[in-house]
Amino acid sequence: MTLLYFAWVRQKTGRGEEQLALPESVKTVADLAAFLSARGGGYAEAFADLRRVRVAVNQDHCGFDTTLRDSDEVAFFPPVTGG
């Protein structure tokens, strides 16, 4: 799957994009966030408070309970502030 990070989430993880083979333990977005957080360092900081993080799967806003497939594009970012 493709993972994308924006704004301060990108700054914490230190990258804007990465490829990841869907781990067996990961069924939902919440599982994925826990998996990434377990990497420690900036990842742990990025996912320390999920209330501050929003997610889109395949470019649709969605919840952390969304089920994932290996072909998905998953993006993590703060609440939007455009306009």
């Binding site: 609440p79 455009g82 306009g83």
Partner: protein, 147 residues
């Protein structure tokens, strides 16, 4: 006609309105958002999610078209580094009558603010910080749910 553009370049409101022109147009409402000239603000930098931004804005426009008889919609959102006084966003709506023009234009802005994947970073005194989302923007978007 629906026009959605994400660009670093500035826009010309008069040209965008002229391009909206349709036979039945009786009313054109526009909204322009600008970088305020305030105290120590040196610049805003706008980041976005390419691909999703265009899709999300198209979805917002679809919703507006379900609610009002829109003859034309133009949305231009700038990205990159913008100095105080510069334009950030333009929403222009053409309709037969004025009430729909005002409502659709405000609806589009409220949804842009809360749904379109843009993020603003501020530069003040040489330091950068990410702008926090405002609760009042969520409230503004929620107003439309029950209408």
């Amino acid at each position: 006609m629906i026009t959605i553009r994400i660009q670093p370049e500035d826009f010309d409101v008069a040209a965008e309105i002229a391009a909206l022109d349709a036979e039945d147009t009786g009313a054109v409402a526009t909204f322009t958002g600008k970088v305020r000239k305030e105290g120590n603000l040196a610049a805003l930098t706008l980041e976005h999610y390419p691909g999703m931004t265009e899709r999300e804005i198209a979805r917002i426009v679809d919703q507006a078209e379900d609610r009002w008889p829109l003859l034309g919609v133009t949305i231009v959102h700038r990205i990159g580094r913008l100095a105080p006084g510069e334009n950030i966003v333009l929403v222009a709506v053409a309709t037969p009558h004025r009430s729909a023009a005002f409502q659709a234009c405000e609806f589009l802005m409220d949804y842009l603010k809360t749904k379109a994947p843009f993020w603003k970073q501020e530069e003040r005194n040489g330091e950068t910080s990410w702008v926090e989302a405002r609760h009042s923007d969520d409230k503004a978007a929620e107003r439309w749910r029950d209408r």
